[in-house]
């Protein structure tokens, strides 16, 4: 990481990226920030930030909602087109959803105001002008109004555009976890 200098009163946004890989269950990560603040014993000071996640493998194991698909690959999304994802309310009560965090510079997100018990609603994602020109791995975090204020984070991936020349077959298995530099044969 490049050294960052901030004058008094300035701020900087630090993006922490977390790959859930094949973790399972509750995970806590605590990245450490080292600064030039004066400490009584050392010349540097450390600050910890913390992130927590509850990693799941199968959509059916989450409650009180299921989100399908679990990961959004919006590589083929163009112009003002929207990609839909399904939110199924498994509980016996209606739920309201609040967006906690999403990359506003890249995405627009629409969510149903309320999903009644045992019903489904649709969320929609579309791209901003910057998002259309970019490749990224971001995410959307939502919070429910249930007793536990349950949160869900949906990974959103935008890789290279896929163009298929005449006589070629499209890639069959273009997974959201694929590294962009490894996408041979995809232009």
């Amino acid at each position: 990481m490049e050294k960052v200098q901030l004058l008094p009163g300035e701020y900087v946004d630090l993006e922490i990226i977390f790959g859930s890989r094949t973790y399972n269950g509750m995970i806590t990560k605590s990245p450490v920030i080292y600064t030039n603040e004066h400490d009584s014993l050392t010349a540097t000071k450390t600050h910890r930030i913390q992130l927590t996640a509850n990693i799941y493998q199968i959509t059916d194991t989450t409650y009180p909602i299921n989100i399908m698909p679990r990961l959004l690959d919006i590589s083929i999304l163009q112009d003002d087109a929207e990609m839909a994802f399904k939110i199924r309310n498994l509980s016996h009560e209606g739920i309201k959803i609040t967006i906690i965090d999403y990359p506003k510079e890249y995405l627009r997100v629409r969510l149903p105001f309320k999903i009644n018990a045992h019903e489904e609603g649709l969320g929609f994602v579309s791209l901003t002008s910057l998002g259309r020109e970019s490749r990224f791995r971001k995410s959307i975090t939502i919070e429910l109004n249930d007793r536990d204020k349950t949160r869900f984070t949906i990974p959103v991936y935008r890789g290279p555009n896929i163009t298929v020349e005449y006589g070629q077959f499209p890639p069959l298995d273009f997974s959201p976890g694929q590294i962009i530099d490894d996408c041979q044969g995809i232009h």
Binding site: M1, K3, Q5, L6, L7, P8, G9, E10, Y11, V12, D13, L14, E15, I16, I17, F18, G19, S20, R21, T22, K29, S30, P31, V32, I33, Y34, T35, N36, E37, H38, K45, H47, R48, I49, Q50, L51, T52, A53, N54, I55, Y56, Q57, T59, T62, R70, L71, D101, P103, R137, K138, S139, T141, T150, R151, F152, T153, P155, S175, P176, G177
Partner: protein, 84 residues
């Protein structure tokens, strides 16, 4: 009390609670701005240093931005960040 005075009293009674509601309610600006501490020398302040992603699917990449403020009276240098 004449009718003009009555109107003034009624207006005052109705207005004071409204002022109270708007100043203490869920105002998106006033409720989110936290006072920044002041520090001698360089100082780092992270208002929201923890974030809960909640449910995250396997093999996904998620991200969150933390805002770091320089609150001292000297230049703050962020020397390194290491995953923990």
């Amino acid at each position: 009390m004449n009718s003009k005075s009555k109107y003034i009293v009624i207006f005052t009674i109705l207005t004071i609670p409204l002022i109270f509601i708007f100043s203490c309610g869920d105002n998106p600006v006033s409720s989110k701005v936290k006072p920044l501490p002041s520090v001698n020398g360089p100082g780092l302040y992270i208002p929201d240093s923890t974030f809960d992603f909640g449910y995250v699917p396997q093999n996904g990449t998620v991200s969150h931005e933390y805002r770091l403020y320089s609150v001292g009276d000297d230049t703050l240098k962020i020397l390194d960040i290491r995953p923990g």
